[in-house]
Subunit: 309 residues, 2 copies
């Protein structure tokens, strides 16, 4: 089933202990779109770029079957740019530059061909933009997944809460879950957030994996222990793209299938962190994803008889 | 099969955001012994206490079938005492007092009845004491598990490395694995540590679970997401006790069984953190452990068809 992705299509400049890049292809919409494209899902991006954005990057997305007609091009404008430097532990980073550019006045417009999509992924953006996209669907998509971040909790609380009330699945990290709920225990945080609208909550814990909450059920997927994490940029967005991509591909939004989607997203994210930017995703070959999915099974699978007490 | 446990039997005074205790029963040997006792394993403790240690605490251990004749009582001495205060996030703590007392001159002596044990758990203590215990076995136990901490890496490196070279399983936390190996990636750290003697490495990540490494295999067990963590004191030792207790109970030291032992240890630790000190372990009823083990299965179990790429 087709998938609409709203998110930034942008330039990133990244420094890690292993090296640094010039301006390279980045943005949440890019990672989500590429991940879904890798799953052969009919993905369509809504975004905005400036006249400085190379056509070859759009071509790259198209090559993975990702539709880009919903990406507005502001010829006289400049593309959103983010620069960051990761610390040695790769878990924290400093933002060196954030140039909103054309993103500052982004008013998303859904092309007609997008409006029948059954799956909608709202990448991290201002809640108002996320809401504007939902409103343009003549019929509510079958599943709306929303990513957001602490920045909007601090700067646009009311708008954020309104949009959270409109979605099916919310994905945030552990600190954000605590901030949003006011609860330190993630179990309690999840219970509270599940009363705010979403029926499913995904708590992303980076190298420590991800939790999926639904009613009283919980599922946990670890991150694969990797030889080396080279560049974490885009890992969360790749995860989101693999997650909703798997759901759109299978058309099944049951809790059991969401577990599989979490594993698929985690496996795809493991490729992203192994190289700079989108290189890891691009380098994936046929069979690679299934190899990683098998590794996940082996990593957590156990068979225990109950203990005689 | 019988199990010898070397570790502190001590007093703890604990402050958490939920309350504080006077001097209560604590110590690595206590938690390990109680956890093994809960599994009906024939556990025997080697330790040292002062004349101030209440007989009822020894009785408590005996009531769980734990042998205490190897606990030296220095009548004129005082028992080891630790006091700490946990921060709001429960992941970090300040040590308020460490009074070694009788532990300062501890020279472990294995009673004859201990010497035929097939399983040996070396709780966190000076490497010299750990070594002295190993040397007293006329025949090397079938499995030696060693816990240690960063303190000995900083203060007794050579002794520590020597003892690590004598054991089968090493349990340390993620920061300690990095310090011991000089590698940030836990996969690389594990590979290096597995050349130092142990055939198995358990990396404890607290609320983020535990990893088991052996040759090129990895197993991961999450921590159960709990409603509330009340007091983390003793969680790591309970985990160790549940781990080696399960192995001693089953007599099987294969990698597959070590996975089960990790789950058993994680399940037992989940009881410890729910109450102050040893109260959580003591409150466990028949059936509780198996309920938690079932929760672990549900938490991580998924069934995924390979993805058509």
């Amino acid at each position: 089933m087709s998938l609409v992705v709203v998110g930034t299509v942008a330039f990133d400049a990244i420094e890690t202990p292993f090296g640094k890049t010039d301006k390279i292809l980045g943005g949440a919409g890019t990672y989500i779109g590429l991940a879904a494209g890798k799953l052969n899902v009919d993905a369509k991006i809504v975004s905005v770029i400036g006249g400085d954005f190379p056509n070859e990057y759009l071509q790259l997305l198209n090559n993975y079957g990702v539709e880009t007609s919903g990406i507005q091009i502001i010829k006289e404008g400049k593309t959103f740019f983010w620069a960051g430097r990761y610390h040695n532990d790769m878990n924290s980073r400093d933002t060196l530059a954030t140039e909103l550019n054309v993103l500052a006045d982004f008013d998303p417009v859904l092309p007609e061909s997008y409006k029948s999509a059954k799956f909608l992924m709202l990448g991290n953006l201002t809640p108002q933009v996320q809401k504007r996209v939902i409103e343009q669907f003549p019929e509510r998509p079958k599943l709306i997944v929303m990513d957001t971040m602490n920045y909007w909790m601090n700067s646009a609380w009311d708008d954020l809460i309104e949009v959270i009330g409109m979605v099916d699945v919310l994905t945030i990290n552990d600190e954000e879950a605590r901030q949003l709920s006011g609860e330190y225990s993630l179990v309690r945080a999840a219970r509270k957030i599940l009363t705010m609208g979403p029926k499913y909550l995904v708590i992303k814990k980076g190298e420590h994996g991800a939790l999926l909450f639904h009613n009283e059920s919980v599922f946990f997927a670890p991150a694969l222990p990797l030889e080396e994490v080279f560049d974490p940029t885009g890992a969360g967005d790749t995860f989101a793209g693999g997650f909703i991509g798997y759901l759109a591909k299978t058309g099944d939004i049951s809790f059991e299938n969401m577990k599989r989607a979490i594993i698929c997203g985690s496996a795809m994210a493991s490729f992203t962190v192994e190289k700079f930017g989108t290189e890891g995703l691009q380098a994936m070959q046929n069979g690679d994803l299934n190899d990683r999915i098998r590794q996940f099974s082996e990593l957590v699978q156990f068979d225990i008889d109950l203990v005689e007490e």
